[in-house]
């Protein structure tokens, strides 16, 4: 038999799980304790770092998209983590402001901090950059991009309803795990209104450089929104078959030209 260490090195390549770590007595080797600690530290930082709305506004303005900042009723991070109900409700002043801005739109995109501002910082603008030309080709009217602080997914329902948009796409920082503190999720809901359930949403998850690429995620969002608007539904009854469309090539608009990132 070959050296067990070589076998374990090969097996470790078969899974992202932490296998073949070795041991020191009953404990982990020092390097593994430190590696875990660093990964956890990054995930914790991603949860607690505040969203940099100013930088986001700038990056989105560079794409020639207007932005509106709003906040949920969760005043701070500690409240946000304990009270998901408050993270789903709009601050009353922001609600009034959005209602005053309402103009007919096919889609409002909400950029929400969720559980990882880092995911939003790294992925929201590139995703919008990839999506914007697809939306323009489709002829969709986009509402201003709403940047939402201390926000849960369902805050998008209140925002979409206030802006009278036909659909809402919430780009939100997913709960960080040890291997990906920077993962963005996209939740698409047709006919947004308060009280929509998760079963009425379509989700595109793991959007990040090392996961689902921004171009591919934008393609999926475009595919799902086109179907949702045509069929008049979103959620579990709308199956995501965009991968097949992407492989087939012709069934949906081609991918946008690669961005200069």
């Amino acid at each position: 038999m070959s050296d067990p260490r070589e076998i374990w090195a090969r097996l470790a390549g078969l899974t992202p799980a932490r296998i073949g770590l070795g041991r020191a007595g009953s404990g982990l080797p020092t390097r593994e304790v430190l590696r875990f600690g660093l990964d956890h530290a990054q995930a914790r930082d991603a949860v607690h770092a505040p969203m940099d709305s100013e930088a986001l506004t700038g990056a989105i303005a560079d794409l020639r998209l207007r932005t509106i900042p709003v906040a949920s009723q969760a005043a701070d991070r500690a409240t946000y983590l304990r009270r998901p109900d408050l993270g789903r409700r709009l601050d009353p002043e922001d609600l009034a402001r959005l209602q005053a801005e309402a103009e007919p739109a096919d889609l409002v995109i909400v950029v929400a901090d969720g559980l990882s501002a880092r995911a939003v910082h790294e992925n929201a603008a590139p995703l919008l950059e990839a999506f914007k030309p697809l939306a323009e080709t489709a002829g969709w009217r986009l509402a201003p991009v709403v940047i939402a602080r201390q926000a849960r997914v369902a805050l998008g329902d209140a925002i979409g309803a206030a802006l009278k948009a036909r659909a809402v796409a919430v780009l939100i920082g997913e709960r960080p795990c040890l291997s990906s503190p920077d993962s963005l999720g996209i939740y698409l809901t047709l006919d947004p209104k308060i009280g929509r359930s998760d079963a009425e949403r379509n989700c595109i998850s793991n959007v990040r450089n090392a996961g689902l690429s921004h171009e591919r995620a934008a393609f999926k969002l475009h595919w799902l929104l086109a179907r949702a608007l045509t069929l008049g539904l979103s959620g579990v009854t709308l199956k995501d078959e965009s991968d097949r469309a992407l492989e087939a090539g012709g069934a949906a608009p081609a991918l946008p030209h690669s961005t200069a990132d």
Binding site: P4, A17, G27, R82, P84, L115
Partner: protein
């Protein structure tokens, strides 16, 4: 009927038993979210004084959810063992705590069928952590399928070889890793990424193949919805254990897409397969505080009491394994390490007192105020409390479910510190392969004997 307790110039009034129990619960974020937690430390303490005076017979007589409204209440009352209850019927909650601290293991086994979840939950609320540990430690719940789980002085481990895309090679590599670290006697149990029957079938065949080829005295489970497992059994696929997540109210179970009748159908189908040579405990349930509230099905009852009611559901199916997934649900239900530790000990105590083979998924998510040190503390306390089993996840990092649980190494630590053995049949298998010494301690060599004996697993 309202309950009252006087503290100096103030009288604390609690509108009914559900309110009293909620206010008496050590405060946690989920009960606050539900708006039922004590509003001051004094109210919390006063409620415990008041609860300690309540007779057990009164708790039995006042169901928290009416009999007509909820099938879990009906199950609890219809299956209540009056003969077993007779021994404790004269006690108040406060007396019952002292009775438990004094009782022998035989007495605890005898009264278990007479203990309703509400009684277990009530007494746990006036117990300190050390009480929860010392009483649970005396209770033994032994179950059997392909080995024997829960014997005194043992701790079993679920080998959890999850993979983000159910890749068979990746899963097999993680199984091999767990086995070489002496884990897997409770079950080799996969949480699948896919919920299709086809994918389930592939995983069941994989697990069955590993267990049969290497004659491993353990059982397999793919933790998918009970309806999917039923479909798999109809297709003749090798199902050892039927898994399902359950909760403590009819409405919360409906949120999981299950009814008691559906669980009964699956239980009977699994029994008919007769796959367990040593015993017929063939159900595996998972639970966790907060599941009823998150399904908007909590009826104004505190989350710990509802959790104990889930054990009444489990108990009626004589399961091989039941575990609370204590820190998985997030900080809106259990905020930090202190709340998770308390909840883990409460859940384990209530389950054992009711005669359920309770294990604990000692775990947390990255948005909870908790870390590995908190998990070490809870793990050690549960080892002292005689916990039936824990999870074994490679490096404590579940790459499919994205949370942190306990690692294979953690179980080695607990065995070394507390002298805990594995299920005897599995212990003998490990020794036979040459992985462990006479005492069950792992031998050095990075699992070489198993790599030699099972080259198929290392392929």
């Amino acid at each position: 009927m309202a309950y009252r307790h006087v503290v100096g110039p103030r009288t604390h009034v609690f509108a009914d038993l559900a309110t009293l129990m909620a206010k008496a619960t050590p405060v946690r974020s989920g009960d606050r979210l539900a708006g039922i937690a004590a509003e001051s430390a004094e109210e919390n303490a006063a409620a415990r004084w008041c609860l300690a005076e309540v007779p057990l017979s009164e708790i039995l007589a006042r169901p928290l959810i009416p009999y007509e409204q909820d099938d879990v209440t009906r199950l609890i009352l219809d299956t209540h063992d009056e003969a077993a209850f007779r021994e404790i019927t004269h006690l108040t909650v406060g007396d019952f705590r002292e009775f438990l601290l004094t009782a022998t293991p035989e007495v605890l086994t005898r009264i278990a069928p007479g203990v309703t979840p509400e009684i277990a939950a009530a007494v746990s609320k006036i117990m300190r952590n050390q009480d929860l540990i010392s009483v649970a430690r005396k209770v033994r719940v032994v179950t059997r399928f392909r080995n024997t789980i829960g014997l005194p002085g043992t701790l079993a481990v679920r080998l959890q070889p999850n993979h983000p895309t159910d890749d068979p090679k990746g899963i097999t590599a993680a199984i091999l890793d767990g086995l070489t670290l002496g884990c897997g006697d409770a079950v080799i149990g996969i949480n699948p990424a896919s919920d299709s029957v086809q994918a389930l079938g592939d995983l069941l065949q994989l697990l069955d193949g590993v267990i049969q080829k290497h004659a491993i005295p353990t059982q397999a489970c793919v933790l998918t919805h009970v309806t999917t497992t039923l479909a798999a059994m109809e297709r003749g696929l090798p199902v050892d254990l039927v898994f399902q997540s359950i909760a403590g109210t009819e409405k919360a179970n409906a949120g999981f897409g299950v009814t008691l009748a559906l669980l009964k159908e699956a239980h009977e189908a699994a029994l008919a397969l007769k796959r367990g040579p040593l015993g017929d405990n063939c159900m595996y349930f998972e639970t966790g505080q907060g599941s009823a509230l998150s399904a908007d099905a909590h009826h104004g009852i505190d989350q710990q009491t509802l959790e104990a009611r889930a054990y009444a559901v489990a108990r009626s199916f004589r399961p091989l394994l039941v575990n609370t997934v204590v820190g998985f649900i997030g900080p809106e239900y259990l905020y930090d390490g202190k709340e998770i530790i308390r909840a883990g000990l409460e859940d384990h105590f209530c389950g054992k007192l009711m005669g359920v083979p309770l294990g604990v998924d000692v775990c947390y998510t990255n948005h909870a105020e908790a870390d590995q040190d908190d998990m070490d503390t809870l793990l050690t306390l549960l080892g002292a409390a005689g916990c039936t089993y824990i999870m074994g996840v490679p490096g404590a990092d579940d790459v499919m479910l994205n949370y942190q649980s306990t690692s294979f190494h953690d179980s080695l630590y607990l065995r070394e510190v507390l002298g805990l053995k594995r299920a005897p049949e599995f212990e003998a298998w490990l020794h036979g392969i040459g992985l462990t010494d006479e005492a069950g301690a792992l031998l050095p060599g990075a699992g070489a004997p198993l790599l030699t004996a099972a080259p198929d697993l290392a392929a």
